[in-house]
């Protein structure tokens, strides 16, 4: 029985409430006396605030108050803290006031808040707040912002450079000196807008009697949110309860601690009513963090046979106007340390400049740093192959790290946990029938059709991560996880966890683990998460860590349950504890399987405690904290087939083959779903999506009308395959799978388009590969 539960495609237990409209997202909650907050936002990307006149707004129907940044500061609310200050990079952390006080630094920067009886009145009053701005010069581009004469955003940040971080391994100078061939590129890894389907929302209830704050919030990490709110709202941590109810997707954009959470708490204090704020989609585009936005100068050194000997890069990472919660760690630790990819590149050096600009703050977006690394490495491998007139698969094979099970150290210093990259690549090539695809491509070209084949072999760092490393790299928290397993007298189980899933399905996955390990039915287990008052401390859901780290804590708690149940069973059966064995929900005497107690028997006895072994406490409840010894490194090989219409520049994605390895698979249906969604977002970056600012800092892609969130018609059915390489990092051998698709698919599709256009001499192609861009690139090559 047991082995069938782990690894089976059990339908999700989350779904009944979601398909019937019974799920409760933050905006669905209504409290007695609740009023609505709306935010006055700057239409200028950079301006001094000369004055704010709220008198007309304050007099409007239903308005309870209009409040400014100065009032919020006077009420004891501090700046928004940055929680990841990377060491040895001289990182500047200029103040990030939740509401701008004297200067606005991006379009969408909050200037004032309005609290009113209903949503419509609040929005009306926002329009009536008069702000006198004195516009200042604007800079939006991460490279230009560092150049002489660029407008400066923050007083103490010269050239807008927030930090200069470096990573080095080997002797990169020698590698380039001795290279047969050097291939260079200038890559724009464009800014993306995450677009979780649920906009952000916050509902704060302040009790003046108890001093307690309850915040319902669209957060991926309620415990971090509580910790940071205790810093910037001045409310003691034990007086704050953060609840993440149903959360409608995050993709990293609901990881940061945002000003609006603090604003609703401030507003609730000011009007002494519960206050709800829900962003509009346009507001989301301007004030929810963006992702990516790198300018990369990269070169690789190689030998004639395709052996890569060195990689050198300079990166300008746009951080936006202020430092969001995790921003500095993304283009550094999560990007720069991954530049070896799946290859034995002995010499690596990268300089990363984190740069302020008059744009929306940038933070984690699905993959967070790793897509910017893997795209760089994987597109450069293809450039090298074209330069040397070698098959890109052969160049990959030449450089792949051989299979390993107990750690492999790359030049950047990371120790990958386990991998079999060749195995995944071979399987993907078989599934795609690569030799046949190449033949079809050659045939098609004779007919004037341009097919392109793109390959990406990747590994990524996730399952964040050992807390000791978190501390060493400047992360302002731990990265362990926690679980409490509680058996009720009837044998039913509650599990409380510190992770906070919002679509990833851990209510099902974790119930499967409990059922598998303890012999109860999957439906006898309830997984509770997302409420700081009801769940143990944990660091939340991001970085593909929930199952990789959270299951370690769960397995620890389960182990303790088994240990206690063994003592109780031994006592009840008058046997020695060392003579008790366990299988499939039964604790039995070794050699006498008919003498047993079920886990339900034990749960009942432990709870009534009529006859307990000496020195054993009543109850059957255990807790465990799990700090992994290393990150996990899932990997795989993806292959895209595209056809480019060279007359219109239109790219059609014809086939997509993905082979991924996330170690032990607990629920293949959920794993496949994660891969599907990941691939779609990565293809979105390659072909459709891109945030565009004009030189005055206006977001030209400021709504879903202007920013191309992919639709169902944009994709074929993805063809998935798996390999299974366990990790030693956690008890079940699982690796994260939430971000792999996004990391792998952008370069796979890009490489396919570049491959299709190579015969036309197209060398420069910037994402997103829209028909216009592709058409222009073709014209440029022809002229």
């Amino acid at each position: 029985m047991a082995s069938r539960i782990l690894g089976s495609a059990i339908k999700r237990r989350e779904d009944p409430r979601l398909i019937t409209g019974q799920a409760r997202y933050t905006d669905d909650f209504v409290l007695p006396g609740m009023v609505y907050m709306s935010v006055v936002r700057s239409p200028y990307a950079h301006a001094r605030i000369r004055g704010i006149d709220s008198s007309r707004a304050a007099a409007m129907p239903g308005v309870l108050g209009v409040f400014t940044g100065q009032q919020m500061k006077d009420a004891g609310f501090g700046p928004i803290p940055c929680a990841w200050v990377v060491p040895a990079s001289d990182t500047k952390t200029p103040p990030y006031p939740p509401i701008a006080i004297d200067t606005v630094r991006y379009v969408g920067n909050a200037v004032a808040i309005v609290v009113a009886q209903d949503r419509y009145q609040a929005r009306d009053a926002v329009e009536a707040v008069e702000v006198d701005y004195d516009p200042l010069p604007v800079t939006v581009d991460a490279f230009k912002a560092t150049q002489k004469g660029a407008p400066q955003l923050h007083a103490d940040v010269a050239s807008n450079v927030c930090f200069h971080w470096k990573v080095s391994g080997g002797d990169v100078e020698a590698a380039f000196r001795d290279a047969d061939v050097i291939v260079k590129d200038h890559i724009i890894n464009q800014r993306l807008i995450p677009n979780a389907m649920e906009p952000r929302a916050a509902l704060a209830q302040f009790s003046s009697a108890s001093g307690e704050v309850t915040l319902w919030s669209t957060t991926q990490n309620p415990h971090i949110e509580r910790f940071l709110l205790s810093i910037d709202t001045g409310t003691p941590e034990h007086k704050i309860r953060v609840i993440a109810p149903e959360v409608g997707g995050g993709f990293g954009s609901k990881l940061p601690h945002y000003p609006e959470a603090a604003m609703t708490i401030f507003a609730s204090k000011m009007v002494n009513r519960p206050v709800k704020w829900t962003e509009t989609r346009s507001e989301n585009y301007h004030s929810t963090t963006h992702g990516r936005d790198h300018i990369q100068d990269v070169e690789i050194a190689a030998m004639k046979d395709g052996t890569i000997t060195g990689l050198r890069a300079r990166v300008w990472a746009n951080l936006g106007a202020y430092l969001s919660t995790a921003a500095p760690g993304i283009p550094t630790i999560l990007h720069g340390l991954m530049l070896s990819g799946v290859y034995t590149i002995p010499n690596i050096h990268e300089d990363v400049f984190g740069v302020f600009s008059n744009t929306t703050p940038v933070d984690a977006y699905r993959g967070a740093g790793r897509p910017e690394a893997v795209f760089m490495v994987e597109t450069m491998v293809d450039r090298l192959a074209r330069e040397l007139k070698l098959d890109p698969v052969d160049v990959r094979r030449k450089n792949l790290i051989p299979p390993f099970q107990d750690g492999y150290t790359v030049a950047t210093g990371l120790v990958y946990d386990s991998g079999n990259y060749e195995g995944a690549l071979t399987k993907a090539l078989q599934m795609a029938d690569y030799p046949k695809l190449r033949l079809e491509q050659a045939e098609a070209r004779k007919k004037g059709q341009y097919l392109g084949i793109g390959v990406c072999t990747y590994a990524e760092i996730c399952g964040l991560g050992p807390s000791q490393v978190a501390g060493a790299v400047g992360f302002g928290g731990g990265l362990w996880e926690s679980a409490i397993v509680r058996f009720h007298p009837s044998g039913k189980v509650h599990v409380m966890v510190g992770i906070s899933p919002h679509g990833q399905g851990e209510e099902t996955t974790f119930a499967q683990i409990v059922a598998n390990e303890l012999g109860v039915g999957v439906d006898d287990v309830e997984i509770m998460h997302g409420d700081t008052d009801q769940t143990p401390m944990g660091w939340g859901t991001y970085g593909s860590r929930s199952t990789a780290v959270g299951s370690g804590a769960l397995m620890g708690a389960i182990k303790k349950i088994k240990e206690k149940a063994t003592l109780i069973t031994a006592h009840l059966l008058e046997a020695a504890p060392e003579d008790i064995d366990y299988a499939d929900g039964k604790f039995f005497v070794k050699g006498s399987p008919d003498k047993f107690k079920t886990i339900q028997d034990v749960a009942l006895m432990a709870n009534v405690a009529w006859n307990m072994p000496k020195g054993v406490e009543p109850g059957l409840e255990t807790s465990s904290f799990f700090d992994p010894p290393n990150f996990v490194y899932p990997f795989g090989a993806h292959i895209a087939l595209v056809e480019v219409d060279v007359e219109t520049g239109e790219v059609a994605l014809k086939r997509y083959v993905a082979v991924d390895d996330c170690g032990k698979v607990i629920n293949p249906m959920i794993v496949e779903g994660q891969i599907h969604g990941g691939i779609a977002q990565g293809v979105g970056q390659a072909l459709y999506e891109g945030a565009v600012y004009d030189d005055q800092g206006q977001l030209l892609t400021g709504s879903m009308m202007d920013y191309a969130v992919p639709k169902a018609e944009n994709f074929p059915n993805f063809e998935l395959g798996m390999t299974e390489t366990l990790t030693n990092v956690n008890p079940l051998g699982v690796k994260g799978i939430g971000e792999t698709g996004t990391i792998a698919s952008t370069p796979a599709v890009y490489n396919a388009v570049a491959d299709a256009l190579a015969p036309l001499g197209v060398k420069t192609l910037n994402m997103p590969l829209t028909p216009e861009r592709v058409w222009r690139a073709i014209q440029e090559a022809r002229s």
Partner: protein
């Protein structure tokens, strides 16, 4: 100024005085407490707010409540009958056609209308038929499978 409206929502007759500018989706959510219908954008792109008005799938963020006067509205809460899931709901569950669930009520309502129009849609027809509904989690593959599964079951 408020205007009177009378409409049926999930089979229950409702009468109210509403501001002319009140969006139907806010009437459903804030006035009737039917929060299953979600708001995902403000430009009629995402389709999360899709409901049925007189049998047609409509984005309720783009309809004024007063425009729905006299009509029959059905939301996700009205779809399951006698405690039994509608075949479209069941297919979304069976095929893992949802992850965070936020787009799902709109996807399901659109699917109902799609199958009504085209009882046996091909994969391409389903993908085209869902062009007004965005999902960021699933990559659409299992949604397409769910729609086809539901169509097959409803035909049977």
């Amino acid at each position: 100024m408020k205007l009177p409206v009378s409409l049926s929502v999930n089979g229950v007759n409702q009468s109210a005085e509403v501001e002319p500018r009140l969006l139907l989706v806010h009437y459903l959510r804030d006035h009737l407490g039917l929060t299953g219908t979600n708001v995902g954008c403000d430009t009629s792109q995402c389709g999360a707010c899709t409901v049925m008005i007189d049998g047609q799938a409509v984005k309720s963020c783009t309809v004024l409540t007063v425009q729905a006067d006299g009509s029959k509205v059905m939301t996700i809460e009205g779809l399951a009958a006698n405690g039994k899931l509608h075949p479209v709901q069941q297919a979304f569950w069976d095929k893992h056609g949802l992850q965070c669930g936020f787009c799902t009520p709109g996807m399901i309502m659109t699917t109902c209308a799609l199958i009504e129009r085209n009882p046996k849609p091909t994969e391409a027809e389903v993908r085209h038929g869902l062009e007004g509904n965005l999902c960021r989690c699933t990559g659409y593959q299992n949604i397409v499978a769910a729609v086809q599964e539901a169509a097959a079951r409803m035909k049977a």
